[in-house]
Symmetry: C2
Subunit: 132 residues, 2 copies
């Protein structure tokens, strides 16, 4: 696998109610803004939103699946949550290689999630080390 700057990988997932409830179970995050319609109605969002870190899980999937031919070490991840994600949204997660340090095998990757309307919901950056 020969990585180069500009290489882009994407996955698209629908935010179903089942997925949000499964993430609540796995994470242990049972905040009612994600799970309780009545509670969520009272908030600024007006309805339930997905866990922000569910988008983090999608970033994990892009990196973990697209680089699966290589052994990589996940060094760091930053995320800015720029817009809420609602049940029924279809989220595309895009990872684009922005820098490669060949001497250290460190690859920097821009990670962006956007919804079906093109609105960006998460921006951030990953760093991975590719093992020889």
């Amino acid at each position: 696998m020969d990585l180069k700057i500009g290489d882009t990988f994407t996955i698209t997932r629908e935010i179903t109610d089942d997925l949000v409830r499964a993430f609540a179970e796995v994470s242990g995050d049972h905040n009612p803004i994600h799970l309780d319609d009545e509670f969520a109605k009272q908030t600024r969002f007006g309805r339930r939103i997905a866990h922000g870190m569910l988008s983090g899980a999608f970033i994990s999937a892009v990196l973990g699946n697209e680089f699966r031919g290589l052994t990589i070490v996940y060094l760091s991840q930053s995320m800015r949550f720029t817009a809420p994600t609602f049940i029924g949204d279809v989220i595309t997660t895009t990872a684009t290689i922005t820098a490669i340090r060949k001497d250290k095998g460190i690859v920097t990757i821009e990670t962006v999630c956007s919804n079906q309307d093109g609105a960006v919901t998460v921006t951030g950056e990953a760093a991975i080390m590719v093992m020889k």
Copy 2:
């Protein structure tokens, strides 16, 4: 709920095989380093490791559960993965308030995961906005 600098919240979770497989399903990250013993034996880790973002999910749980009396907006999260997490590890995730901007309702939180031996596996920082 009256937040102040130094307030600390923690959760502890065991990294079971079931949990790692459930995270693989939810995230869609099926990298064999998390799921395949034979593959993992060939890597520098010598055995399967948990997804780094599973620790991100634990951070979500600390923030989502401990602040559940408040409506919060997750603004950002950074994570540095400083050591691997193995099946059978017991991970304590600690969130400590380090700064409060009362005018904007923005709270900065140091987020750290550590294992049963006290080794730090993830460091990072969250920013949340507490809604009035």
